[in-house]
């Protein structure tokens, strides 16, 4: 009860925030896309992410350069870098398979922006991390296994 109430509240504030942002960016048309895409963030599995994003037959691709550390000393901060060589790359999506919320980020790449993103994510436990690239010719992905070690003490 409390949860669903909070979720409803979250959606309201989220949409208000988004619309304010999008209006200030002169991107009213993008608002519907933004609001519709939020359900992907409720996904619990990679398949649910694909479904929520309307991706039916994703293909693994070596044209996505995906840098992730083989071992993360601390899962709280894991650097990731994605570069797509696929033509008409429209968005880059990051999914951490074993996190409670698997959907991590969805970057839309407008004309004139390179299909390149670097950021840092949380990885709760050793997990496959996926970089999904949406193009006009369909969706592609690359996967890396990130092993997370617990830090010792001090340092």
């Amino acid at each position: 009860m409390i949860n669903s109430h909070r979720r409803a509240f979250f959606h309201v504030t989220c949409r208000v925030g988004l619309s304010a942002l999008m209006v200030s960016f002169g991107l009213r048309s993008a608002l519907s896309w933004a609001a519709e895409s939020r359900p992907a963030f409720e996904s619990r599995t990679l398949d649910e992410v694909f479904k929520a994003l309307g991706i039916s037959h994703p293909q693994q691709s070596t044209d996505i350069t995906f840098k992730a550390p083989e071992i993360a000393e601390n899962g709280a901060v894991v650097p990731l870098e994605v570069e797509s060589k696929l033509p008409q790359t429209r968005s880059i999506i990051l999914v951490v398979e074993k996190n409670p919320h698997v959907m991590t980020a969805d970057f839309s790449i407008p004309e004139g922006t390179e299909p390149f993103i670097a950021t840092r994510v949380k990885v709760a436990e050793s997990s496959n991390v996926h970089a999904i690239v949406k193009t006009d010719a369909g969706a592609f992905y690359a996967t890396k296994l990130v092993k997370v070690t617990l830090g010792g003490c001090g340092g």
């Binding site: 304010a20 901060v77 670097a118």
Partner: protein
């Protein structure tokens, strides 16, 4: 009131390389405090960057982006001195906008 972002934007060849650090706790809603109470979720949900009135990046984020987020991207068609503006909005409706001249 949110703390300022640190934005770097450098023109290298014909590409502007942008590196942003944001001050935000990115609470997932999964963590418990010392008294065992769940710390409510509070994280950035959207990011936008514009240059010369043109959107150069927009993104939706979930709670799995690391605390004090880092973001880097690259775009074309801008020159030194052009202003780059970055805005974020979080689950609490807080928002922060910062601007930097491309160097």
């Amino acid at each position: 009131m949110a703390d300022p972002m640190r934005i770097r934007a450098m023109l290298i060849g014909d590409l502007v390389e942008v590196k942003v650090l944001m001050a935000h706790d990115m609470e997932t809603g999964q963590r418990k405090d010392v008294d065992g109470n769940t710390v409510p979720a509070h994280y950035i949900v959207s990011i936008g960057a514009t240059c010369n009135g043109r959107t150069v990046l927009s993104a939706q984020w979930g709670p799995s982006i690391a605390k004090n987020p880092f973001l880097s991207f690259r775009f074309r068609h801008a020159k030194k001195g052009d202003k780059l503006t970055v805005t974020w909005t979080d689950t609490g409706g807080d928002t922060r906008t910062d601007e930097v001249a491309i160097g």
